[in-house]
């Protein structure tokens, strides 16, 4: 067991996959000799060489589309969009090309590519460098999207994304870049499924589903609630497209309470989807109204005091769970 940082886990998995498969190429701004803005591609250029590690111009539309063309013809591109906010500059190649070509072309092509990015807030980066767009990609058939929240998950999900034959979005967290986590021998080579949530901590009183960065405040809230005798089950949703409702449902069936927390805005988000499915398919198990938490419907503000208030917090999660526990049992249950 060693301690590894989030960004190091990414560099390790990517390097190993590039050594393993000569079809994997790395493209993006500053991914080469400079080693990436977060040092997350450090050393790859030196190991793999200039042919397969390509610094691109600042031209997301062009280089993501080029990656699609490369994927159609036999390469397995791994493409960096440094900040998740910049996805807006390449939505066409992602949504109209990568996601649809296989279907549209009658199954004649596969598009094995990874687009990785760093998203979310917490670094006072302001409205254009702090966003989480995860729900957008849940809406697009043909894409897969995952959000690793720990160094071990970065390892396993990066490997899985590169080996998958579909366009996969690896939505990593800026806030967690330097997070250290335990990585076992097995984690180093693990290939995680791209459609499975992870039950991080068990508990019988309330299911709390998180995405990305929010796993960590949820675990803090868990410790706090434990002091009050409340045991929450923390599930890292991990996969956004598809959402692993099965794992969540199994937990809710036991706890009877459901809270979903994410950094993306609430309207039509993962929380909305999971709550809708819970209400549609298992209303009889719900002891109280299921809840969602996310930032207010405003752009992510720059000022540290505002951003702190903006993002979901451990305190907020603990308060919401306490309120849910104290709420009288739903009337349809009582009747």
């Amino acid at each position: 067991m060693t301690r590894t940082k989030y960004y190091q886990a990414f560099a390790h998995a990517l390097t190993e996959e590039m050594k393993r498969d000569p079809r994997v190429v790395l493209m993006g701004e500053d991914v080469g000799q400079s080693g990436g803005i977060f040092a997350h591609t450090k050393g790859i250029y030196e190991v793999i060489g200039p042919e397969r590690v390509r610094d691109t111009p600042i031209a997301e539309n062009g280089f993501v589309s080029a990656a699609v063309g490369a994927a159609m013809t036999g390469l397995r591109p791994v493409v960096e969009i440094g900040f998740e906010d910049f996805f807006t500059a390449c939505m066409d190649p992602l949504v109209n090309q990568a996601a649809k070509l296989r279907y549209m072309l009658g199954g004649q092509v596969t598009i094995p590519m990874v687009i990785y990015t760093f998203g979310g807030g917490g670094l006072n980066a302001g409205p254009q460098h702090s966003q989480s767009f995860a729900p957008w990609f849940a809406q697009v058939p043909g894409l897969k999207a995952v959000m690793p929240a720990t160094p071990a998950d970065v390892l396993g999900l990066t490997r899985a994304a590169i080996r998958d034959d579909n366009p996969v979005l690896l939505l990593m967290s800026k806030k967690l870049i330097s997070l250290s986590g335990n990585v076992g021998e097995a984690d180093l080579d693990a290939v995680l499924p791209l459609d499975r949530a992870n039950v991080v901590a068990e508990g019988g009183d309330c299911t709390v589903v998180t995405y990305g960065t929010i796993l960590h405040p949820a675990l803090k809230a868990r410790a706090k609630l434990q002091e009050a005798g409340v045991e929450i089950e923390v599930i890292d949703g991990r996969c956004v497209n598809p959402i692993d409702f099965e794992t969540i449902a199994a937990s809710v069936a036991r706890t009877g309470r459901l809270l979903v927390v994410h950094e993306a805005h609430l309207p039509c988000g993962m929380g909305a989807e999971i709550l809708a499915r819970a209400v549609e398919t298992m209303p009889e198990t719900l002891l109280c109204r299921p809840r969602r938490m996310g930032p207010p419907f405003a752009p992510s503000p720059f000022a540290p005091n505002l951003e702190k208030a903006y993002l979901p917090s451990a305190e907020g999660i603990a308060e919401t769970v306490s309120a849910m526990i104290q709420e009288p049992v739903l009337r349809w249950r009582a009747a």
Partner: protein, 323 residues
């Protein structure tokens, strides 16, 4: 082009055959679309046949093309099967896209046709990607992106050409100027007389050719392909042509001049070939008639095939979303 007279004649016959095949395919599609036999939208390239035929004839089988929403000619010229193309236009299960793509998405990977594409401009970076594959794997293949002057004003056109230049990719940017971007005449959206002048800004050669002259198109692309295969990087070729029909079938074309509307055939690469080139290159009237008759028969067979085929299956709606 080779100097050997026999192969010269054979090549001329082939160029003519492809142009006529495209013309017949699209005239048939136009008629059947007007009759209500085809759903959706179709965009025809009648008048631009020399671009598709000349460009693709200068490529090899292993080479790639990317195409546009106006792509029937490009696909046919690169060897796609008119039967399966027509079946796709009729939304049949045996169409190239199983009835899920339609006219704007015909592809034949076995022929290096990476697909027509409904998003203007994307043919260029997609071809850059195919060229990147060729470069990384050392396959020796070349990629050619068809695009129109409408796409030339898109940001992604610049991104694609800039990237291709940086990496010296084996790619040919082939701009087919048909005088209109959708419904807007050339002058409305393009400040330059020659789009090929832009190549200088990327540091690679640009050339404008007469898009009515299939040999001029062929020779320009052949030069660019040789250059690309030698590792010398991209080229931009602009072929000046004319779109006989509207942006889409049914387009009232109010933006065309009275002359353009009255006599589109004043620009006609097929007639020009018959008039100026055929006998020079050893093709008799009878040769031309035979080629036309064969194309006619091939398109009739394609129509017959497409009509008889089963519609897209319901099961196929949920297939091929993921690999």
């Amino acid at each position: 082009m080779t100097q050997n007279p026999q192969s010269n004649t054979r090549q001329a016959a082939d160029l003519y055959r492809i142009m006529v095949l495209i013309r017949r395919f699209e005239l048939a599609a136009s008629e059947r679309y007007r009759n209500g036999d085809m759903p959706g939208f179709i965009h025809l390239s009648i008048g631009q046949e020399a671009c598709a035929a000349g460009a693709c004839a200068a490529l090899e089988e292993r080479d790639f093309i990317t195409s546009t929403h106006r792509g029937h000619g490009h696909c046919l010229a690169k060897g796609a099967d008119p039967k399966r193309m027509m079946a796709e236009l009729f939304a049949r299960a045996s169409g190239y896209c199983k009835g899920r793509g339609g006219s704007m998405h015909i592809a034949d990977m076995s022929r290096g046709v990476l697909g027509a594409n409904g998003i203007v401009g994307q043919s260029m970076p997609l071809a850059v990607g195919a060229a990147l594959t060729a470069q990384v794997t050392g396959s020796g293949a070349v990629a050619l992106a068809f695009f129109g002057e409408g796409a030339s004003g898109a940001g992604v056109a610049h991104e694609a050409m800039n990237m291709a230049a940086i990496w010296k990719l084996p790619v040919i940017f082939f701009c087919e100027v048909n005088r209109y971007a959708e419904l807007s005449p050339y002058e409305v959206h393009c400040p330059l007389e020659r789009i090929s002048d832009r190549a200088a800004a990327y540091g690679f050669p640009g050339e404008t050719v007469d898009g009515e002259d299939v040999f001029a198109v062929h020779d320009a692309v052949a030069r660019a392909a040789t250059r690309a295969r030698a590792g010398e990087g991209p080229s931009l070729i602009e072929a000046k042509a004319f779109r006989w029909h509207g942006h889409y079938e049914g387009d009232p074309q109010g933006y065309k001049t009275a002359d353009e509307r009255a006599s589109p055939e004043s620009f006609d690469p097929v007639a020009r070939f018959e008039r100026n080139e055929a006998s020079l290159r050893g093709l008799s009237e009878t040769d031309l008639e035979n080629i036309c008759a064969a194309a006619e028969a091939e398109i009739a067979a394609a129509l017959e095939f497409a009509e008889a085929e089963a519609p897209a299956t319901h099961a196929s709606m949920l297939e091929d979303i993921y690999a």
